[in-house]
């Protein structure tokens, strides 16, 4: 109970800081990464080369990650040893891999990650942070649109996360980037019509998990 109260206080404080920061502009603006698969380029009538912007790409299905985008702002993001991940976790059981609202994965097609099928739908994403060992977690936990301590059916960020609604867990491939990304970013990399990888980058750390399209 003490732990719950403590976490609640922390969440309330986090919310307050979030709202009052910088004249109401969130300190960690919202972001989205999207990919589209299984569509076809259809040559437009009366025009030559296919235009950019997907104008002629038709019938594609979306895969999307929505999340809050915290800034590095000069900090050592990960720490080390017993303190590894502590600043990112802010007292929560698992990292929200974003900021504010829980990171969400929305897919219009079934995906296979680490041998498990993810049916079309919406999920919450978390990362279990261990030094040199990041685990990608897809969960059926719903996301609360705003922090509400009375809402026990949905999570705000990763506060009160429990593993019982996990759909799958997968080890992430960790890579060091040649540059430092200031604002946390999720992206789809190495995409083809049969799959790709979801990648999170922050600072010089990149972590990715491969997926296939289909069941």
């Amino acid at each position: 109970m003490t732990r719950i109260l403590f976490a609640t206080c922390a969440a309330v404080l986090a919310m307050t800081v979030f709202v009052v920061g910088q004249e109401n502009r969130p300190l960690s603006p919202n972001g989205t990464a999207a990919a589209q698969v299984m569509g076809k380029y259809v040559k437009p009538e009366g025009r030559g080369a296919p235009a950019l912007g997907g104008a002629n790409y038709q019938g594609g299905k979306w895969i999307e990650i929505t999340y809050g985008r915290p800034l590095k702002r000069g900090r050592d993001l990960w720490g080390s040893g017993a303190n590894y991940g502590k600043d990112a976790l802010v007292g929560t059981p698992i990292w929200r891999a974003g900021a504010n609202v829980s990171t969400r994965l929305k897919t219009e097609v079934p995906l296979v990650i680490n041998g498990k099928t993810l049916a079309p739908g919406e999920y919450s994403l978390f990362i279990d942070l261990k030094e040199n060992n990041w685990t990608f977690v897809v969960s059926n936990w719903a996301a609360a649109p705003r922090y509400d301590p009375n809402n026990k059916e949905a999570l705000w960020g990763s506060y009160f996360y429990t593993p019982d609604k996990d759909v799958l867990r997968a080890p992430m491939k960790l890579e060091t980037l040649p540059h430092s990304i200031e604002q946390l970013t999720w992206g789809f990399v190495d995409m083809s019509d049969s799959g790709g990888a979801m990648a999170i980058s922050w600072g010089t750390q990149m972590a990715s998990v491969p997926f296939r399209i289909g069941t």
């Binding site: 922390a10 404080l13 986090a14 800081v17 920061g21 910088q22 502009r25 300190l27 603006p29 972001g31 989205t32 990464a33 999207a34 990919a35 589209q36 569509g39 380029y41 437009p44 025009r47 080369a49 235009a51 950019l52 912007g53 997907g54 104008a55 002629n56 790409y57 038709q58 594609g60 979306w62 985008r69 800034l71 590095k72 702002r73 000069g74 600043d87 802010v90 890579e175 040649p178 540059h179 430092s180 990304i181 200031e182 604002q183 970013t185 992206g187 789809f188 990399v189 190495d190 995409m191 083809s192 019509d193 790709g196 990888a197 990648a199 990715s208």
Partner: protein
């Protein structure tokens, strides 16, 4: 009205209607932004240090998706035609012009960019990308009768350029599917403005201050 203007306007109108009609109202190239903050301080807070008093630098843009295309293939005169088929320079995004909004003065390639909102373009030549910061305002919706602002890079002219600078080109070890602008290697004195798409990363350094 020249033929080029009409062609540009028609292409933009087509791009717009396609963008809106595609995928049940979801734009084929969703809007995106990247932001960084400088000049603030961490002050002790109950949940740990809180960052206060920072000034924002932000880039807003449309985020086209690679969707299996060879984006920067081609050579000579055909180079860059996949991403920029018919505008004088590349909008380096999709739909609305890419915009840089800064609350602090920036120095890029020796030129000062005063606090304000600017449009950003890239002149694409094989092995030579030039970043352009322009005073051209951006249209929020495509309006062919609006001659005081641009939609994307259609009708761009260089007379409102503030900065032109050659970008550093690098090859990424992975392919980024959706065009991304990012602030990289940031410190309190400056950093780099970077664009990544497919395996290409192009960046320019900037300093905070005039």
């Amino acid at each position: 009205m020249t033929r080029r203007v009409i062609a540009g306007a028609a292409a933009a109108a087509l791009a717009m209607s396609a963008a809106i009609a595609a995928q049940g109202g979801r734009p084929a190239s969703p809007a995106g932004s990247s932001a960084t903050q400088v000049g603030g301080k961490y002050v002790p807070g109950s949940e740990g240090p809180a960052y206060q008093g920072g000034k924002w630098i932000e880039i807003t843009y449309g985020r086209p998706i690679k969707r299996g295309r060879d984006l920067f293939g081609g050579s000579g005169a055909s180079y860059g035609k996949v991403v920029n088929p018919d505008a004088p320079v590349w909008r380096a995004g999709a739909n609305v012009s890419t915009q840089l909004k800064t609350e602090v003065p920036l120095t890029i390639n020796g030129k000062t960019v005063a606090p304000g909102t600017y449009t950003v373009f890239i002149d694409l030549k094989q092995s030579t990308w030039t970043l352009i910061v322009s005073r051209w305002p951006a249209q929020t919706d495509y309006d062919p009768s609006n001659k005081a602002a641009l939609w994307g890079a259609y009708e761009y002219t260089p007379d409102k350029d503030i900065v032109r600078t050659q970008m550093m080109l690098a090859t990424l070890p992975f392919s980024v599917d959706q065009l991304a602008w990012e602030f990289t290697d940031m410190t309190e004195t400056g950093g780099r403005l970077s664009i990544m798409w497919d395996k290409t990363m192009a960046s320019v350094p900037f300093k905070i201050g005039s």
